[in-house]
Amino acid sequence: MTHHPYPLKTRFWTPGVVLMAVLMAAGALAIVARFIGGIGYVSNLSTARPWGLWIGVDVASGVALAAGGFTTAFLAHIVGRHYYEPVVRPALLTAMLGYTFVVIGLIVDIGRSWAIWKPMIFWNFDSVLFEVAMCVMFYLTVLYIEFVPIVAEQFRGRVSLPGPLAALNGLAENLLSLADRILGKIMWIFIIAGVVLSCMHQSSLGSLMLVAPTKIHPLWYTPILPLLFLTSAIAVGYPMVVFETTLATSSLKLDGEMRVLAPMTRLTIYLLGLYMALKIGDMIVRGTYVHLLEGTAQTNAYLVEMLLGVIVPWLMLLSDRVRRNRRALFVACAMIVGGVLLNRVNVFVVAYTPPVSGASYFPAVGEILVTVGLISTLMLIYRFLVTHLPVLSAPAREGSS
């Protein structure tokens, strides 16, 4: 199959984009407030509840939902199923932006943002977080390197920098073609490294909360938490690609790419099935099903996560008709994405009970604004980049300009 990604060159400012820009501005204000008044000024975080929405959504869910990047790279470039090539670039872009925003989210969340580089110098091999940080750092670099050829493809041979920078045109041109030539030969190193680094930190994110056995609800606290995080990240990869491709192609009035998406989600039956089996098996082995019907907010959150986020969409995907229907497939995949998102929020926030004080937590308006603002910014940049760079390859829908 041949596919040719192309810059869309469509109109950038639409009502939706304006709304996102407004949310982005609100988030920016909240971030300014955080750097004037401190974390305590905009958040409900406390001694007993040191991690909240930012870690649960911006960081943990951000990493999980960027899994489309390494799962599609594995499928198309390592196993060599080139049929899926059209979704590799959008998934790579999503992963690159996703991880960039994980880092921005961390800069807002950590108390000493300016010291974020210190883990590179001061190592603690006992710390799960240290390993996660190193992997995220290296993986983000790998993602940027993997993105270089897309930029080179667009600008090689037609670099024209504005104004006085035009003097650098020749230099930029040479750099681009040099980078493209070298990267073309060694890109496989980065593709494999990206998958390895992803497996490492996706699983280690699950190990993070193992350090607090007395605080995490037994429904979630299990020694196989890292395995569950890895398998759920792998399972959510393709549904996330379906989710974002459907959103993007609808919004940009492009063809839905169903002939690529439909067969891809057949793989999800196995991947999500494995995660589901591990999760249910673990519950049975440890006997934690006794908590299921306790009716507390925690156990209900677990039920929603498992039923609506895993079991129902898995059953839906079993049906060939669902997988061929664009709307039904979108619903099923959105549920899987929501299920993994809820799982991360559950593990990091909902399942967490401080045993001494029992303090509760609900995100403050400031925290929500930051998170919503960051997500809006990510979507805006995605739209901007697919408008100007060859990322998407779906042809325009019939009847639209």
Partner: protein, 305 residues
């Protein structure tokens, strides 16, 4: 994107060699010291005067309290240590009555327990928290990035945070008067001031003997348990009491150090980076085979040019 067998092994070899240099450190950040200092808190002796809070505030240069240390009404509410107070005394009525049928109060001083195998030190991304040979769990602000994973890890909810400092917030917790003990040869501020000798400072092993002796000699006064002897692998601060610990806000914690599971998983998976190296080789093998059987269409185009 071309993958030749020779190229692959060359790079895989280089990665392996680089990884071999990264050996897990022999001395772990949370390793248990052999003969640490500790403090024994004899709850039966405490009269709730809060002189220890006052002294702690003074020797550590903490901000003045909202309400005076002399104000006894502060005790009407249960408090937790926070970013302005490393230690607090709480009052409990556990049900004992005196001769005049009045409830007898019990006072409990709380601060960092200085665990033998501290979860905070195991968790700390940069190793800013370390267990010192002399027993102190020490915080080095110059390394800290403010991730607050130590607060997530601490089973006793002790480390507090300067949430209202926008640029240079610190993790705040009892220092075990690190400077006073190591450099000035003094007692911890709280132990020095205590008028009823509630707090005994000394070697942890000696303190355990003292505690056992007190319990044996006066079984009517004490419950036969030393909180901190085995809890989370043992702590440098230990308590004995005449009232069940559960009624005094002490939580049940496992005897196994809480970071053990995470550390075991982490070290067995990533010692010498064996798992990423194996995975890298495996994926490289798959990629090399698939490239041979199923050439990439882009590569073919490139060859034709």
């Amino acid at each position: 994107m071309k993958l030749t067998r020779r190229g692959f092994f060359k790079i895989a070899g280089a990665t392996g060699a680089a990884a071999a240099g990264i050996r897990p450190k022999a001395a772990r950040a949370s390793a248990e010291p052999e003969d640490p200092y500790g403090c024994l808190v004899d709850i039966t002796r405490c009269i709730g005067c809060r002189k220890c809070e006052d002294a702690c505030n003074r020797v550590n240069g903490l901000p003045p309290p909202e309400r005076s240390f002399e104000d006894p009404t502060v005790l009407n509410r249960l408090r937790r240590p926070d970013e302005k107070a490393y230690t607090v005394v709480n009052r409990y009525f556990a049900g004992q009555l005196d001769a005049a049928n009045q409830l007898v109060p019990t006072f409990v001083k709380i601060q960092c327990m200085h665990c033998q195998e501290p979860a905070c030190a195991s968790a700390c991304i940069v190793g800013a928290l370390t267990k010192k040979e002399n027993g102190m769990v020490h915080y080095d602000v110059t390394k800290c990035i403010g991730c607050r994973y130590c607060m997530v890890a601490c089973p006793f909810e002790i480390p507090a945070y300067e949430y209202h400092d926008p640029i240079t917030p610190r993790v705040m917790k009892c220092t075990f008067c690190f400077e006073r003990i190591t450099k000035e040869g003094k007692l911890p501020g709280c132990a020095e001031i205590c008028p009823t000798e509630v707090i005994t400072f000394g070697r942890r092993k000696t303190l355990l003997e003292v505690a056992r002796k007190r319990i044996q000699e006066n079984p009517a006064r004490y419950i036969d348990r030393i909180y901190g002897e085995k809890e989370v692998g043992g702590t440098s601060w230990m308590y004995i009491t005449g009232v069940p610990f559960e009624k005094l806000g002490f939580i049940d914690v496992p005897d196994k150090p809480t970071p053990k599971l995470a550390e075991t998983i982490q070290h067995s998976l990533f010692a010498y980076l064996w798992s990423p190296i194996v995975l890298y080789g495996l994926l490289g093998g798959i990629m090399w085979t698939s490239r041979r059987n199923r050439p990439c269409p882009e590569d073919e185009e490139g060859d034709r040019q």
